[in-house]
């Protein structure tokens, strides 16, 4: 028998704390696979955020630090500046990066920090029970938009890769999705380019991964992935928004 796929060793044996069907596990596996393929595992420090993935260090076996809510990009900057040989990744949710952490993320990008941000967008604050996030869609019901998000009260969802691509510091900015095997294969390709941008010292990199939250969306995992295709991707399209030379 020929081995086609094997769970990476960098994923620990520990059962994840994520809800059934939560795509965090998919993103974790892609990161672990890439770190092994690019021979970066022993150099890597991952900055884990406040959110469901705060315990990510139990699942991906690299050095790790935990950041205060929203501050991962600043902590990553501190690590990378102090110890440039390290390979520094932050793993942040939409509340963590686009709400409380937007200043730190924008400035890390503008400075061209040689860090890679994996930005998980599932349209709500998962850990705390499903409140509105900057990426919540118009009309979407959350626990703090019980009547559906209204632009006149809560403004419009934020498009992070599009905003960041306008800066000069980033070397690679993209958006991918985790809803189907095809999109997952594509997401891994985009993540590889982001990691290459850092490994080749080209600049800041960020990949948004459109993800699901079956529990707070009040759907089955299969329905949640379907919602990504039907409702989320039309607002947050897959694409590469900045690709510097040397990233391919």
């Amino acid at each position: 028998m020929k081995l086609i796929y094997k769970k990476p060793d960098t994923i620990t044996k520990r059962d994840t704390t994520y809800c059934p069907g939560c795509p965090h596990g998919i993103a974790h596996r892609l990161i672990a696979e890439l770190l092994e393929e690019m021979n970066l595992v022993k150099k890597t420090v991952i900055v884990w955020p406040v959110g469901c993935s705060v315990f990510g260090y139990y699942f991906i076996a690299t050095d790790a630090v935990e950041a205060a809510h929203g501050r991962a990009a600043a902590m990553a900057t501190g690590i990378k500046r102090a110890h440039p040989e390290s390979f520094v990744i932050t793993y942040q949710g939409d509340g963590d990066l686009a709400s409380i952490g937007i200043a730190e993320a924008v400035h890390a990008a503008a400075r061209g920090e040689r860090i890679s941000i994996v930005y998980i967008n599932n349209g709500n604050y998962g850990m705390t029970g499903g409140q509105m996030a900057p990426t919540t869609l118009i009309g979407q019901v959350t626990t703090t938009t019980p009547y559906g998000r209204k632009p006149e009260l809560n403004g419009f969802p934020m498009h992070v890769p599009e905003m960041f691509a306008a800066l000069d510091g980033p070397a690679y900015i993209a958006r991918a999705a985790l809803d189907s095997p095809q999109h997952i294969i594509q997401a891994k390709k985009f993540l590889k380019k982001a990691f290459t941008a850092q490994a080749n010292n080209l600049g800041f990199s960020l990949v948004e991964l459109i993800s699901a939250c079956p529990t707070n969306w009040k759907m089955t995992p299969v329905e949640a992935m379907e919602r990504i295709r039907k409702e989320v991707l039309p607002v947050f399209p897959i694409g590469e928004f900045k690709v510097a030379k040397g990233v391919e």
């Binding site: 028998m1 020929k2 094997k6 998919i26 596996r29 095997p181």
Partner: protein, 75 residues
């Protein structure tokens, strides 16, 4: 024939994603219960499996640990 898909039933949370993406419909949720109380997914038609790996790609719990393809018989 050896199993083409190795599933660690203890990690499975019965999310159903693997079943939903399998193009040959060789996966299903079993009646067994794992120690967490979930019904794990199972490969019930090894012959029909084409080793595409879609189940591995989408499994969020890394319960699907390996996908293998039989070597073609050399003539």
């Amino acid at each position: 024939m050896e199993k083409k898909v190795i599933i660690n039933e203890e990690r499975c949370k019965s999310c159903g994603l693997c079943v939903s993406v399998c193009p040959k419909h060789v996966l299903r949720i079993s009646d067994r219960i794992n120690s967490k109380g979930y019904h794990p997914a199972e490969l019930f038609d090894n012959e029909g499996c084409i080793s595409c790996g879609f189940c591995y790609l989408i499994c969020p719990d890394m319960a699907i640990q390996e996908v293998r393809r039989p070597e073609p018989v050399k003539k």
